[in-house]
């Protein structure tokens, strides 16, 4: 199925969980906030929150600022 991640279309497996999407993108979860269709998904729900065709996902990478390296999306 196709979903939209940070404004870009992306092909993913059907009904993928938010947690698995994060893993498949190679992101470290600690610094992320995830929003699906304009609602924030709490961390505890990442494994159970399943995505559907056309969902709009925003993954925000929090940065510490100063001179600290963070993975970029």
């Amino acid at each position: 199925m196709v979903i939209i991640v940070n404004g870009e279309t992306k092909e993913v497996e059907d009904s993928i969980a938010v947690a698995d999407l994060i893993i498949s993108l190679g992101l470290k979860p600690e610094r992320l906030a995830v929003e699906v269709n304009r609602a924030i998904i709490r961390r505890a729900a990442w494994s159970s929150a399943l995505l559907a065709e056309g969902d709009r996902v925003e993954i925000v990478n929090f940065v510490g600022g100063g001179e600290i390296v963070m993975p970029q999306l």
């Binding site: 906030a33 924030i40 940065v63 600290i68 390296v69 970029q72």
Partner: protein
């Protein structure tokens, strides 16, 4: 100088007007961290006529700051002035009619509530998550609005927190990223334009809060990358149920709970370790300099003492806090501190 004349362009702007200007003049803003973001926030708010400005920073000016930290000059780096002092001097030259208060301290559980007391808004200019979680706890508890901002590389993020009205930082980022979880200590560098943008968004949000224009706040998580050129906002107005949030829902302020102890922090990308101590001590530099003179090279000014021994460069502040350069090993740093400054 005539107040009306000085701020005439800002008063002409319909969002502020003379009523907004009077409110701004009667407000107090606290800026925590006087680096790159803090400099732009301080300068913007000082020029806008904020009545009282508190500038807090634990560090001193270094040459590598000059590329983007617009409040500092070469002489500040040469004299190793504390950033809060150099910033306050600069800000007082920019606007002598406002009250500027420098605070040369490491913000921690011990002093944060005192620092933000009576503030109308707190602006984030820090460089680490721990201090931000601490600011979040203190501001949520005291119901003071605060404005998160951070930038790395060409990417930056900002969010305005209005306690009791919308989500706090911990509603969105629930737990503190693990310290030392791999990538934390390398340098990615940062470029000035992203800092200007993030700090400017923070500053205008502060002006809206002080001018009583809360309905104009962006109410979102704003994300900008100036190199790829992307700007997006994630609407936060959908977070209505905050009961699960440990800070603003359950009102458990875990970052404000601490005990009197020595706090050691490795300063990322600086080859330095900071050793802070809670409690109020005042170091007598003349006395300490006399003691250290036979052991290495000592110099001091009103704000800090610098001691060079072996391959280490030790800076001691009046509150007994030290930054030890030449190691990232906290045990070595604690050993040096105990040997030369006192346990």
């Amino acid at each position: 100088m005539q107040i009306e004349e000085r701020y005439s362009r800002q008063i002409l702007f319909s969002g502020i007007g003379s009523d907004g200007q009077a409110r701004i003049a009667a407000s107090r803003a606290v800026i925590i961290g006087c680096g790159a973001l803090g400099a732009i926030e301080a300068e913007t708010l000082a020029r806008a006529g904020v009545g009282r400005l508190t500038l807090v920073d634990r560090d001193f000016v270094e040459e590598s700051n000059l590329q983007r930290q617009i409040m500092f000059e070469e002489s500040d780096a040469r004299n190793r002035l504390p950033k809060a002092i150099a910033a306050a001097r600069r800000i007082s030259r920019v606007n002598s009619s406002i009250e500027v208060e420098p605070v040369v301290e490491d913000v921690n559980f011990d002093n944060i509530e005192e620092i933000i007391r009576g503030a109308d808004v707190v602006l984030d200019g820090t460089d680490n998550f721990e201090t931000r979680f601490l600011i979040n706890d203190a501001c949520v508890r005291a119901r003071v609005p605060w404005i998160y901002g951070a930038a790395v590389g060409s990417y930056g993020l900002t969010m305005t927190i209005t306690p009791d009205e919308g989500p706090c930082l911990r509603c969105v980022l629930e737990s503190l990223p693990e310290p030392g979880s791999g990538e934390t200590c390398d340098t990615a560098g940062v470029i000035m334009p992203i800092i200007s943008i993030i700090a400017s968004i923070q500053s205008v949000e502060a002006l809206k809060l002080m001018a009583a224009q809360k309905d104009k706040l962006h109410r979102s998580l704003v994300r900008v990358d100036v190199w790829d050129f992307s700007i997006s906002r994630i609407d936060l107005s959908g977070i209505v149920d905050r009961s699960a949030c440990v800070a603003c829902g359950r009102r458990e302020f875990e970052f404000l709970i601490g005990s009197a102890r020595q706090v050691t922090t490795t300063l990322c990308g600086r080859n330095s370790v900071q050793i802070a101590r809670s409690g109020r001590t005042k170091i007598d530099f003349t006395d300490l300099a006399r003691r250290l003179k036979p052991l290495g090279k000592v110099e001091f000014n009103d704000f800090l003492l610098r001691f060079r021994v072996e391959d280490y460069d030790i800076t001691v502040f009046r509150d007994a806090r030290s930054i030890i350069r030449g190691t990232t090993d906290q045990a070595i740093a604690r050993g040096l501190y105990a040997r030369y400054i006192g346990a």
